[in-house]
């Protein structure tokens, strides 16, 4: 068994594994930081991430009960204001009333924990269960590509496997589950992924197999697809090149940026030297 007993899988770690086993090992098993650039234009990359974070935060504030009219005038960035305006007009169309922003659900699969963190989970007990993921990327990937992304697979699976607490204590029937990617930069266009029992069974087998493979493999080889290394910070560690890939070639529609990574360690307060 390669995994520590409190290891928790997520869609990002599984996607990393599928993309490159070595990256998974470095990032999640060895927790090795390697602060090389991921793309050539780091500042533009940071600015996009920052805008994405602002937008997600605004939606969170709105769903926590703050009026859109209070929030809108305080937005400094033009793109973010435009996105939020679109959201206010149509972002919640058809979304069930019981809305839980920033919700995490963990399930147990093959004696291992698997986590999904939803931007928004909206459930009508006895009715539909909708997962919404807000996207601020410039590009919209194809439906086929999105269907293969671990995010689509893991999110729907975890909700079907462990959503009882949000559904009156009963498991949510897969047919009631739908995942929606909502694109702020495309006037609120959506990509929708309904679910069913057959897909749930396929996903269960696929995810269980993936986890089993990771837990039992003796080593974690470098990906044969060297193209992936262009946007991977470990490239110097793996001897896979010098320069980071170009931002305009980076697939922002598919690659995940973990917007939850920002935390202010306020507990430093307990650690200071008096």
């Amino acid at each position: 068994m390669n995994l520590p007993d409190d290891f928790v899988f997520s869609q990002t770690s599984l996607q990393d594994y599928v993309d490159c086993a070595r990256r998974f090992e470095l990032r999640y098993l060895l927790r090795q930081r390697w602060p090389a650039p991921e793309v050539d234009d780091m500042l533009e990359f940071e600015a996009r991430m920052d805008k994405g974070e602002q937008f997600h935060h605004l939606v969170h504030q709105h769903l926590a009960g703050i009026d859109g009219e209070v929030l809108l005038p305080r937005i400094g960035d033009e793109d973010v204001r435009r996105w939020f305006d679109v959201y206010l007009k149509s972002g919640l169309d058809g979304v069930p009333e019981m809305r839980r922003p920033e919700t995490t659900i963990t399930t147990v699969l093959n004696d291992t924990m698997l986590l999904a963190k939803f931007d928004l989970l909206a459930v009508k007990p006895g009715g539909r269960a909708l997962i919404v993921d807000w996207k601020t990327s410039e590009r919209m990937p194809s439906t086929e590509r999105l269907a293969q992304r671990l995010q689509t697979i893991v999110y729907r699976y975890v909700l079907a496997a462990s959503g009882e607490a949000f559904y009156g204590g009963q498991p949510i029937p897969p047919e009631q589950i739908e995942m929606v990617y909502w694109y702020a930069d495309h006037e609120g266009a959506t990509q929708r992924f309904p679910y069913d029992a057959a897909q749930y069974a396929t996903d269960t087998a696929y995810l269980a197999g993936l986890i089993e493979e990771i837990a039992s493999r003796p080593n974690f080889p470098l990906t044969p697809d060297v193209n992936r290394c262009r946007f991977c910070p470990y490239r110097s560690l793996c001897d896979r090149g010098v320069q980071a890939g170009r931002l305009d070639e980076w697939d922002d529609g598919a690659d995940e940026i973990d917007l939850t990574a920002f935390t202010l360690d306020i507990d430093q307060i307990a650690e200071i030297e008096y």
Partner: protein
Amino acid sequence: MHLIKKQQEIANANFTSRLFVEGMAGTGKTTAAIERIKSLIKEGAAADSILVMTPQATLALPYRTALRRSRVKTAADVQMETLGSLAFHTVDLFWPLLAQDLGFKDRPHFLTLEMVQYYMTRLVEPEIRRQDYFNSVHISRNRLYTQIVDNLNKAALIGFPHDEIGERLKSAWLGDVEQAYIYDDAQASANLFREMCREYNMLDFSLQVDLFVNHLWKLKPVRAYLTAKYRHLIVDNVEEDTPATHDLLREWLPLCESAAILYDKEAGFRRFLGADPKNALLLKAVCDVTIDLDRGRVMSPDVEAFQVAIAPHLGEKDGQARPKDGNPRGAIVYPQDTRYQPQMIDWAVNHIASLVHDQGVSPREIVVLSAFMPDALRFSLQSRLDERNVPNRTHRPSRALREEPAARALLTLAKLAHPDWGMKPSKFDVTYALTASIGELDLVRARLLTDTLYRDGRLLPFERISEAQMQSRVTFELGARYERLRSWLDTYITTTSLPLDAFFSKLFGEVLSQPNFGFHKQFDAANAAANLIDSARQFRQTVGKIEPDVPAAPEYISMVDAGVIANLYVRDWQADKQDAVLIAPAYTFLLYNQPIDYQFWLNIGSTGWGQRLYQPLTQPYVMSRQWTLGDKWTDALEVVANQEVLYRVIAGLIRRCRKGIYLGYSEYGEQGMEQRGPLLMAVQNMLRRLTREEQHV
């Protein structure tokens, strides 16, 4: 998991009640609370509606780990917060609701401690200099600022206006007028910092807490949001928490579905951070059920007997009964005739090595403690344990990044790459940076390169070494590596301009971590570089928003050089999982709150055990809700307080020990002074008494 009856009342029942659970450390309160969480989930509670609140994040670790290991579906979704993190998240989410009343125009800037130190230096220090504040105080600037901030924090956590700090401190003071001036200066500095925070829309910890408890929590929508989100509360170590938390809970408890408040008797180790165990006890009145856990589940009978035997010699009443099958002498080991500290260290290391190598004790079951852990002692222990092949790890509150060779090299290279800053690094620093940056380059050759090629703040091309003999002394291979680094810097100087963190990252990725360079496959160096980059980025982002005109990069470098920032970085808790002997100050271990098999207490003759730190700008007993305004802090009170602290620390340590305690002692301390501290006295008195008792039997 086997639970005794009273634990089961916590774990498996009372799901609609508010429980107040009392007990000494090691009586199984946390274990029962973890089981309660699992039961609540199995009963149908949404895991993310359960909030575990602790006074500091480390105290939530046993919950996090146990719930992740439990394999109970959704158990990992239980939320963990401290008052600080809850305040931060709530203020960040709901600040627009305060915008009108408190004048926020934009999202506020949340200051980390590092940034607080920076703004103290930048905005308050000039005034301190101008007014000649604190001219009689001889402590480092960082400690000075920390205490000013501490006073602001205490005002928020205890609940009095921040402009009453000085008066409060002065009213309790009995000594010379000089100290009263210091308190006045502390007040003036605190006022100034608060004004600056308001002006620049910055929120330090004290303002976040103030906004949360005094404003947002009072707003109906915010209270409704929080009380609907968190229906079940588990509050651990409430005695280590502050009145602000207690006040919040007093109002929250009637609104939640269930709660378990866990109270450690005879604790309160975070008093210097505002902990108020007496105030915590008031929460009992708002709970429906009180459960008293009185059966220790950690200490062996011998260890428990030691705890009972030493208590009266630490000022406690001689009332506890020793366990029948326990012998205090069986729990302790102490050296004979150790005159000097190195002998004591040898003694401790020998015993540790024997436990690990001969008796098969897991290194993680051993901790080495001292009242304080000065660098010299820590270093001696580490190197001696390394020699004996005993894995070990240290635990320090903070560590200066500039002490890390990789970070120092990056800082020097940044100066070389930015001649416009006018910060020419010294020859020594350049030599050092070259050694750290170029693979296989030793100090002698690095020195040679520096002496011949470092001119006027710039590195010259390798070919400028005219003598072939000298070139071959460096070797052409190393010369080529030097040249690659130099020309990268040269190209950067002529073509690029990046923020400091981006510069570090690019240099790291394109040169330093490439094959044949110093950081290649060097994981510790990469971690240090990553920490430095984080710190520089955070600095740029914060300063860039608050004062866009300040040139962030050179400002950052000078602040690091001056020791103002990059002093702290978050510890890697992963490292704590290693199977290694822990070396830590006693308080740090207590606040870990994890029992362990063997403890080594070093320098038990030191007066540091039980003594308050020197804090000329503040006073933890006066800055407390338990203090009556108008009373005076006398020497007699100081003696009683120190004695109580010593007893609590010692009892707390023993209650976190399963098998045995090694009492390290040397006649003369680090400074060559004879050691006669109160802990040593207590141990000697206890041993004499045991001998008398044994003679009577």
